[in-house]
Symmetry: C2
Subunit: 400 residues, 2 copies
């Protein structure tokens, strides 16, 4: 009677939420200090003081209509101008305010893009490992998700597999670098190679294959690594950005969609994006959040906590004998399951109240995901338990 | 290449936006004071001072995570509890926090409901006159909009026409009272009659026909009229509510979806609604706005300005000989076109810089819509111009 599709989706519970619920229960039983929940990716770097100052300022300087009233569907014109100036300055581009559409976070930017691009039966390629909501977002646009597994040792793109997956029906590919759940960042070389392949395949099939770059972790980077600005390599790129992580304000639901520019299709793309935002019920991005990011355009959260946590966890776990993918960005660590059944490894961790998510939903079933956006104390106190876990599997340190 | 459906929708411009753009141009030519724009429904009642006080308070008393962090998909638990207590107290109900889902305004509540309810080819009935986005919102859920014209003299429901429109495929009906664009309010008698019809037809076709009540204007009421609480008459009702008008804060994008309760299907409905919100990309309603409405649960904007504006406009226009539907709520006035071609009447108004929207997109093509949520001065200064317009049509006052 209700939508079959939505019932199925609603029932398919986020396994992460189940772990979170289990953590709450365990905390009641054994005390909060004794439960180590690495399951949830809730940014815990401090909210920059400038965010609070911006709220104070807009509250006392703006008119009711500037602060509480409607903006255009794509955002306040002056906010868009500030963001575009910042983007052009940072990435040496020449975007205009017509090329940006403010959204309720990156999720909204993704669903709007899918709805704007896809006709029924169009395929969208997802590069594993991936954020578990991507398949739903593609379904939101009426398309079909096609998952391409990565190089299992590096979690980088397996170009041979990708080449085989692209076909006549391929309308777009989603890229997420820095990546959730692996922390992997695509190098300039990788992006160049991807761009060449997409250009070749677009030519072969006689239609553009769009690149959709989901970039909520753009600024969460370690070891002086840099993230290439993809439109420099492939102009048919949609960028989906969010301030949830860069300003530690995920509750505000604010981000943007940066449209492909320097292409002939621009006016049509804008039209389709406007239509998509309307039909989905996104009247506009929240106005007060628009004002806050305008004031904080040059501000970013201090990620030193994340870096320290990464080092603590990665260095110690590898030392114990766990096989890990070293995160170059974001705040997740993939650890390879030391036994064949990853779900058993998840269960085994629970014996020490070490809670982490199986990689199944992320497209990397041999791994578990540990979020390290948690208090450093927790990580420090979890290490002896991880050692016991390693001992159970006889991992030990390999002596040379 | 792009989504055909979205290109079509995006191209179908809101005629209201065109009028708004025209108004901006004319203001540059003849000065702001000489242009009378009755086209846009932007609430202009003052934002209650409690809203600003709430922002100040949450900024200085809440932790980063309470103010800037994620909530559950359906909202912060304590915010939902406050709203449910208020709803139960106001309408004498026994809802629980499981029955409410906070949304990015009423538009989001509507698209989530459509997506949760509809299977392909399901029909949803829209009662004219109607908010022009309803057909798109139904398409968002994959359904087919079926428009039922009203009694043309009263803009109330034409029950005979409605009876004929309901069929095997009917999954739901949208009700919007107080109504945009007519200002009409459905009486208890009307709601009772509607409920009886829906019960009869649900029985006849062997499945529930849901009622979706879009209630952004619930508190914008005149002449001590009351709005029946529809679930008292028909329990299979979804209520889509927004704080955009009641607190004059449309930019915040905050509202809620109140689910049918006291029905057997409750768990399934919740599941489908969660699935729908996720697939559309609505991660959660904006957190700070959730906190504001929690603090302002008993606050409503002062609508005396709207009442005065309505009286000024309705009384004078009818006196001039225009035929109008008297608004009992909301802030719109339908005026019957004195000539057959309503678009000509719109053009004729422009001669006096009187700008109003043709009823075509609202499902009442013989009328124009005047929004009276504008400065009272504007209305006062527009009256001599409306008199000239009336004179052009020889309306005059009918002497008895």
């Amino acid at each position: 009677m209700l939508s079959e599709e939505m019932l199925t989706l609603g029932k398919k519970r986020f396994i992460i939420r189940d772990i979170f619920a289990y953590a709450q229960e365990r905390m009641k039983e054994v005390g909060e200090d004794h439960v180590f929940d690495f399951s949830i990716g809730n940014p815990n770097a401090p909210v920059p003081k400038e965010v609070g100052e911006a709220i104070e300022e807009i509250l006392h300087t703006m008119t009711d209509s500037q602060l509480h009233g409607y903006s255009n569907a794509s955002g306040f014109e002056d906010v868009k101008q500030t963001l575009i100036d910042h983007i052009n300055g940072t990435f040496d581009q020449t975007y205009t305010t017509n090329d940006i559409f403010l959204t309720c976070g990156a999720a909204a930017a993704l669903t709007i893009t899918m709805r704007a691009l896809l006709n029924p039966a169009d395929e969208v390629i997802i590069l594993a490992p991936f954020y578990p909501e991507y398949p739903s977002f593609i379904q939101c646009g009426g398309g079909i998700p096609v998952i391409v597994p990565p190089n299992p040792d590096t979690m980088q793109i397996d170009f041979e597999a990708l080449k085989k997956a692209i076909c006549e029906k391929t309308k777009a590919i989603i890229v997420n670098s820095p990546n959730n759940p692996s922390g992997v960042v695509y190098s300039e070389e990788t992006i160049s190679k991807l761009a060449s392949l997409l250009k070749e395949k677009s030519l072969q099939y006689g239609h553009t294959i769009y690149l959709i770059s989901d970039e909520p972790y753009r600024e969460i980077l370690y070891d002086n690594i840099t993230v290439p600005f993809i439109p420099d390599y492939y102009k048919e790129t949609f960028i989906c950005y969010s301030y949830s992580k860069s300003l530690s304000m995920p509750g505000h639901r604010i981000g943007y969609l940066l449209l492909p520019y320097k292409t002939e299709q621009i006016p049509s793309i804008r039209t389709a994006v406007s239509g998509a935002a309307r039909i989905l019920g996104f009247v506009q991005a929240p106005g007060p959040a628009q004002r806050i990011i305008q004031k904080c355009v040059n501000v970013r959260t201090n990620i030193s906590l994340y870096r320290e946590n990464r080092d603590l966890l990665y260095n110690n776990l590898t030392k114990m004998g766990f096989s890990c993918i070293k995160p170059q960005g974001a705040f997740y660590l993939l650890v390879k399951s030391p036994e064949k059944d990853t779900f058993q490894f998840v269960e085994h961790g629970k014996k020490y109240d070490l809670l982490y998510a199986p990689g199944e939903d992320f497209g990397c079933p041999e791994y578990v995901r540990l979020s390290f956006c948690i208090a450093q104390d927790k990580i420090i106190h979890s290490l002896p338990l991880f050692q016991q876990l390693a001992d159970d599997y006889n991992l030990g340190e390999v002596s040379l």
